[in-house]
Amino acid sequence: MEARKICVLGDFATGKTSLVARFVHERFFAAYQTTVGVKVDAKDVVRADGRPRRLAIWDVAGTGTPTELFLRYLRGASGYLLVADATRADTLERALEIRAAVESQLPAIPGVYLVNKTDLEERQELDEMRVARLVGASESWLRASARTGANVGRAFALLLERMERAA
């Protein structure tokens, strides 16, 4: 089976580990536990054309400023998700900075923005208009919730589709 590496990136406490847990294990843990280094999971998926793919999903410890080690974790990746927290608008700015750093190292691989925690309706700082304005018209982005599972599978599917097109 062909395999692809994807990385899940973003500022701390944006819910990257929860998104991966929802996608891979269909589970959600409300308690926040910080990731140190990187956590690697695998999930077998089926592409739109019916062919199977193994995804190695790298849940990289949250950071707002990409370091040399952070970029080393990306080596061999075919795509990445950039996660922001809908209740903290500044995390989308961190995601944009990470995007710029990754593009300088790996310009050819696709990324998809994922604005997580949309279930926390009363604390929303990133509505659709604001995300669209900050991210730009040419980028792919989705609002999602690891808690409810909304748009999580769709985000990975969208990234996979873009990775296959870029390959």
Binding site: G37, V38, V40, D41, R75, G76, S78
Partner: protein, 512 residues
Amino acid sequence: MSDSFVTARHLRKILADQLRPCFVVLDQGFCVVQISGDASGYGYGELSPGMDCREQMPFLIGLAPGEAIHLPMVEMASGAAADALLAPAGSAQGLLLTDASRERAARRLAQQEANETRLLLREQQQLLESLRVARDDLESRNQRAAEASLMKSRFIAGLSHEFRTPLAAILSHVAMLADVKRDSEWSSGESARLIESNANHLLSLVETVLDQASLELGQLSLNPVPLRLSAFCREMEAMFEHLAAEQGLEFRFHRRGDLQEWIEIDATRLRQVVINLIGNAIKYTDRGFVALILSWERGRLEVAVSDTGPGVSEAARERIFLPFQRADHAGNKRGAGLGLAISAQLVELMGGNLKLEDRPGGGSVFGFTIPAPKIDVAAPLAASVGGPERRILLVDDSDDIRGLYSRLLGKAGFTVDTAADEPEAWGRFETQRPDIAIIDVYLKEWEGTALVRRLRARGFTGGIVSWSASSLREDQQRAFDAGADAFVLKPVEISVLCATLTDIARRRAAAA
């Protein structure tokens, strides 16, 4: 065995216990050639030569054969953490895993604490920011309240002047009337005219202040009655043509659409708004013209008043529809500073929106559009109220009101009886058997609405008009609840009262 050998073996054991190394030799296709060390400690106990290592170790996916890379702190699917070092070794490649669980636990503790502190600090900052916004809002509200209080104080001061001036004029003319026989040069008719003019002004001031109070309390309600637009046009034209000419202005009147229709609208409030807009336009225009444009189409009445006056400055526009504001150039012109505020609120109550625009060429245009449904009124005036429905009993505790309206209604063709209180009213009902009763809401110690209720309870089936000088919605509702057919505000123009009586007769005829 030498001591150094023993020491080296001991140290190797300590290192092996601490690092729990696992060494895997891989071929160029990442298949296992050889395994040594603690593979099961990382969850790879089932790994055996010939297997594709990437099946068990997905962190190798994406890496090129022969690539050298050090990946610290990699958490495996088993939950174990390792530092992974991949390096080429001749035609093969070697993967060394060393335990990082202890270091990860220590770093996680520190990082968790740091991240949670940052989240708490952020929440604290947001809380402080929301407190600051709330404080600013409170200060701003306080400032607005203080400004409003100042405005009201100025308004009351101005109003007392407004009240005193006509009162002084009335008193002086009353004195002159008393002395008229001795002063042959002064005509009593002239005094009466001036007294009437000043009394009307006082009444208008009182009504204005009461309207504003009712609007502020949300208690002013509309009282739709039949209105013939053509008659309304004639009334406005007659009212302002002369007034404008006295100021050296031309009064222009443009009609559009079918203005022959009868519409249902609160004629008193419509009249009040239009009179206020035209009155303002005339008051503030020195030369040129004031124009009233009226059009009715498909159930909507459009009204616009334009002038060639000085216009309204950009700064004043924001406040012009607020109460207690007067135009920049108001100077010593008469007025309470409530007219436009009341007009705007009345237009809103009638379902429209009073707007101000610049007139091309200079001046202002105030306009609005409101719903004004067409109604079918065959014969609108008092004379048409059916034969038997001409006897009216007017119950009001004011001698002046009873005297005035019995004369006006008499002129309009009705037979009018009057009563000052409830006992007297019952006597009149017994003897005169009126067709319609006009009953004041407040009758000194008697409740007019209670009289209405008792009349209905005793089987009175004629029309009942409740009236009051109060425009409070509660009064109106109480009257209708008691059984009144219509409610009008005192003082009411005789044409409006006649139209109301006609409407009641029409409805009663239709119901019969």
